[in-house]
Symmetry: C2
Subunit: 102 residues, 2 copies
DNA sequence: TACTCACATCAATTTTTTTTGATTTGATGT
DNA sequence: ACATCAAATCAAAAAAAATTGATGTGAGTA
């Protein structure tokens, strides 16, 4: 059931998805931690945020799908980092302070 | 039932709201039309978008609340325009092409 | 093999957002 | 006052997203 859309609307749909990924405090917080601390072990992330495992997984997946973050798997551990390039494509430089407070 | 939040989280909450306002194709389309055409009469907007009155009203309110657009009332007609300053505060310059295609 | 640990995924529920159609408000004209 | 049009608002329904707790998977380890 593809919605009717022209060329422009296709890109609007993509942007809708980007903004949706960003429209949640927990996910913004995740991005900020990753941008600030760099490569981070998932469990550390969970503790910092006070999120249970399955909830964290859910939100990480949303950010992953939009390519705002990436994973590296080492053995049974996962390390996440922010894709600052992708983030910068979307956000104004002013909003960078959101991810690099101080 | 205020959620527990520190100073930083308050601003994250504000940004969550901004991004939420932007995370919808129809609203992005509204912004694009307003940014491209300038001050626009609501009914014209409705026709361009193919949105019924009450749905349009709903989405305009969300953009208004976040200050991405503003209204001027003249008699019984309403004219809307984009607040490009507010938009630029949030979006990267790359994303401006989203609102000024061509 | 069997037992953990780290993590993803799933299904059921709850919460939030959006849509719909009807009603209300407010300005204008008769 | 009454009718009309522009537009906001409301309440109910539908749709989408988030939460929860349980289960599954896959890598290490005993």
């Amino acid at each position: 059931m593809a919605k009717q859309m022209g060329i422009c609307d296709t890109t609007l749909f993509d942007h809708e998805k980007s903004f949706k990924a960003l429209s949640d405090q927990k996910r913004l917080h995740i991005l900020r931690i990753l941008a600030t601390k760099g490569r981070t072990f998932v469990c550390d992330l969970g503790e910092l945020l006070g999120l249970p495992q399955s909830k964290l997984s859910y939100h990480l997946k949303i950010l992953l799908d939009m390519n705002f973050i990436s994973v590296e798997k080492e053995g049974k551990w996962n390390y996440y980092s922010a894709n600052s390039n992708e983030i910068k494509k979307v956000l104004s430089s002013d909003l960078c302070c959101l991810f690099y407070p101080e």
